[in-house]
């Protein structure tokens, strides 16, 4: 997002965010090309993207449950400026990260996006997610074969009436 203290230039960060946005857009109406890209690496987790609750989605995606960890750092607003595009990013100091997933508990479908992290990649993903209403946002990091998570409530409000 706005920080550059990880050594990357702001431009590079923007490119990464752009990639996240593309993946998100793809979820609603997944174009054929993108499906192919998923398929080349791994099977598209169709069942996981149908689950209503975050627990079922995590179970479907990973077959395990996640434990909360302060090594998973999520950056999300307390109150969304626009529920349609809520910026949520995650970074972690955990080693051997293989995937990072984003879930919104109160959305009609809980799983928002799941990213495969190839070996040697910095485990740092920023994307924007659409939120129907105030909800817990959960990020899950798969590292060394185990699951770690962080949770934060993001409020979606009608606004107005400031002091």
């Amino acid at each position: 997002m706005t920080r550059t203290d990880n050594g990357f230039s702001a431009t590079r960060r923007l490119v990464l965010q752009g990639a996240g946005a593309v993946a998100l857009v793809g979820l609603g109406n997944l174009p054929f090309g993108l499906t192919q890209a998923f398929a080349a690496n791994d099977k598209y987790p169709e069942e996981a993207f149908k689950q209503k609750t975050e627990a079922d989605a995590i179970k479907s995606l990973y077959g395990r449950t996640a434990e909360a960890s302060d090594k998973v750092k999520m950056d999300a607003p307390e109150i969304a400026e626009n529920g349609a595009v809520v910026p949520v990013s995650v970074s972690t100091t955990l080693a051997d990260v293989t995937s990072i997933s984003f879930l919104v508990a109160e959305n009609p479908v809980a799983l928002v996006a799941s990213y495969k992290i190839p070996a040697g990649t910095m485990p740092n993903v920023a994307n924007r997610i659409k939120m129907a209403k105030t909800s817990n946002v959960i990020v899950v990091v798969e590292a060394g074969g185990k699951l770690y998570s962080a949770t934060k409530e993001v409020k979606v409000t009608v606004g107005g009436c400031g002091g």
Partner: protein, 580 residues
């Protein structure tokens, strides 16, 4: 022996008991004669809302704290407030800080604030410590709140700010003039505008929008370092975190806000470790509950000088965090108060602190001629149309309070009557002055309640369920037990609809017993005609001040039977006073 301030006030109180009800003795010396302390004096004003002239302003009789906030400052009113801060009932301080016997106090002690009076006091307190030993900081909401500020888009207030000698400020309503006007105001502002928590959106950054620091995306300078009293003092600005949510997003499309305490921590650490400052002050427009939570999480800040929630808190609240202790203050509103923070700063460390929140009793201060001249000159072209009486106040008209105020009741009556709707909604702003019963109401008074850059009224059709959702949403912004999820305004005001509220409940469960004026319950599926103003969505109706003025001029009998708000589960909460 010089009479100290506290003694003077005690004397004033004692004389009252004798039954003579004297006005304030004209001896500013005794009230504003502060003992010298430390090597750096920081003066702080906040939320003056552009009130250039002295005002009446009634403090709230309902300011509820819920959860861990219950019973703690700033959620104390009336007698509980006096007891907590050791203020003598019937004193000038009791009048300034609480709602108790407001009208009686108004007769005795007169108006407060006014920039010409404030200027005299500021100059005196800066002069007392000598050159290079003081700062004047403003916490924002300085350039909005009157008809004059609105018509001049804050330009009048820039001149007044410069003459007052403000060294640094942060912002809230300043943003609602839009980027272009804000930048042109800032160009003329001689102090520094600080905001660590305003960043370019990704799109704006990609398009190379103007930023103080393109690398971080920070739109404004986050902090400044001032040498005062031979020590280096860092002042960090914290703008209102929810500008694009509380106001129409169209005013600030390229900027994103937020509390951003992680960025703040990095900033504090950098100032401490790299810039080797001796003291760190956060000039905040977060609101007091947010500041209290922030102080428990962010380390390395000596004092948070707070605003936004308009809480006049006489003493700082000490908050412990892993790095030590941070003091949190809030300095009231509408120019009523001037905070004096005297610091004894050693190398890299604040050794000791004294804090006073001085009520600015206009009758005790000779108006500064230069500031008075500037105010008169600036008002002259605009004020002519606004000074004529359009009605008399039929009762004490005030706004401040968590749920309702007589002034907002009047606005709701005007909306319902003029726009012919069953229900009216009016925003829970905390600014707006007080008019005593029998006093003339002028257009200037009406504008002091309504002067925003999005004043258009609207008439909408809403279902009962939608109305309840809006009330629940706003109520959660007020009573969420986590202050980071609050926005700092009061509850939306209702005309034509009574309800019960249980503040300690969760979102969606606080509002019940919604009842129309005719006694019928509000039905979830039924549609109702609702009038309102200050919508975050663009509207095109008549500005609300014209609607209110038209209603007042019509001579329609005032509606005194305001629909009630029944509070549940607040027994024993000292944030509610029966002595209003």
């Amino acid at each position: 022996m010089p009479i100290r301030r506290r003694d003077f006030l005690t004397l004033a109180g004692a004389a009252t008991l004798a039954g003579s009800l004297p006005r304030l003795a004209h001896s500013a010396d005794s009230v504003y004669d502060l003992e010298r302390f430390g090597n750096a004096r920081i003066l702080h004003i906040t939320d003056t809302h552009a009130q250039l002239k002295p005002v009446f302003f009634r403090e709230p009789s309902v300011n509820l704290g819920i959860g861990s906030m219950q019973g703690n400052p700033p959620h104390l009113v009336g007698k509980a407030f006096l007891d907590r801060f050791g203020i003598r009932p019937d004193s000038a301080d009791a009048y300034a800080f609480t709602c108790i016997e407001f009208e009686k106090g108004a007769q005795r002690f007169g108006k407060l604030g006014g920039f010409a009076h404030l200027k005299t006091l500021v100059d005196r307190l800066r002069g007392d410590v000598g050159a290079g030993r003081s700062l004047l900081l403003d916490g924002g909401d300085l350039w909005q709140g009157t008809g004059l500020a609105n018509v001049m888009q804050g330009a009048d207030m820039v001149d007044a700010s410069n003459l007052l000698g403000i060294d640094a400020m942060t912002g809230h309503w300043e943003f609602t003039y839009g980027e272009k006007t804000l930048r042109s105001n800032l160009e003329r502002f001689k102090g520094e505008f600080l905001a660590q928590n305003v960043f370019l959106t990704e799109e704006a950054a990609f398009n190379d929008a103007k930023a103080f620091d393109p690398a971080s995306g920070r739109v404004f300078k986050p902090a400044t370092i001032k040498e005062i009293g031979g020590r280096r003092v860092a002042v960090i600005g914290q703008a209102f975190p929810y500008v694009p949510i509380a106001h129409p997003k169209r005013f600030t499309p390229d900027w994103k806000f937020g509390i951003r305490d992680e960025e703040l921590q990095k900033l504090v650490d950098g100032l401490r470790n790299n810039d080797k400052v001796d003291a760190v002050i956060l000039l905040s427009h977060n609101g007091m509950d947010v500041d209290l939570k922030l102080a428990s999480r962010v380390t390395g800040i000596d004092v948070i000088l707070g605003g936004h929630t308009h809480d006049a808190v006489p003493q700082p609240i000490a908050v412990t965090n892993p790095g030590g202790v941070t003091l949190v203050t809030n300095a009231g509103s509408n120019g009523k108060f001037l905070a004096v923070l005297d610091l004894d700063i050693g190398k890299g460390k604040v050794a000791n602190v004294r804090y006073r929140l001085l009520p600015v009793f206009s009758e005790l201060l000779k108006p500064d001629p230069a500031m008075q001249g500037l105010i008169d000159k600036t008002r002259a072209p605009h004020a002519g149309d606004w000074v004529d009486k359009i009605a008399s106040a039929d009762r004490l008209l005030y706004r401040r309070g968590n749920f309702s105020g007589s002034m907002d009741q009047l606005i709701c009556d005007a909306l319902r009557s003029e726009l012919d709707t069953e229900i009216a909604l009016s925003p829970g702003f905390r600014w707006g002055t007080t008019t005593l019963a029998g006093q003339p109401l002028t257009m200037e008074d009406v504008l002091a309640q309504t002067a925003v850059t999005y004043p258009e009224t609207y008439v909408a059709t809403m279902t009962g369920a939608q109305i309840k959702d809006v009330l629940e949403d706003v109520c959660d912004n007020l009573f969420n037990t986590d202050p980071y999820y609050q926005q700092g305004g009061d509850m939306v005001r209702l005309g034509g609809l009574a309800y019960a509220c249980t503040p300690a409940e969760g979102v969606g469960k606080r509002i019940s017993e919604l009842t129309l004026d005719n006694g019928n319950p509000l039905q979830a599926a039924k549609s109702y005609k609702v009038a309102g103003w200050a919508s975050v969505n663009e509207q095109t109706g008549t500005p609300v001040w014209d609607v209110v003025a038209k209603h007042l001029k019509s001579g329609k009998p005032p509606n005194r039977s305001a629909p009630g708000v029944t509070l549940k589960g607040v027994e024993g909460n000292p944030g509610i006073s029966k002595q209003a």
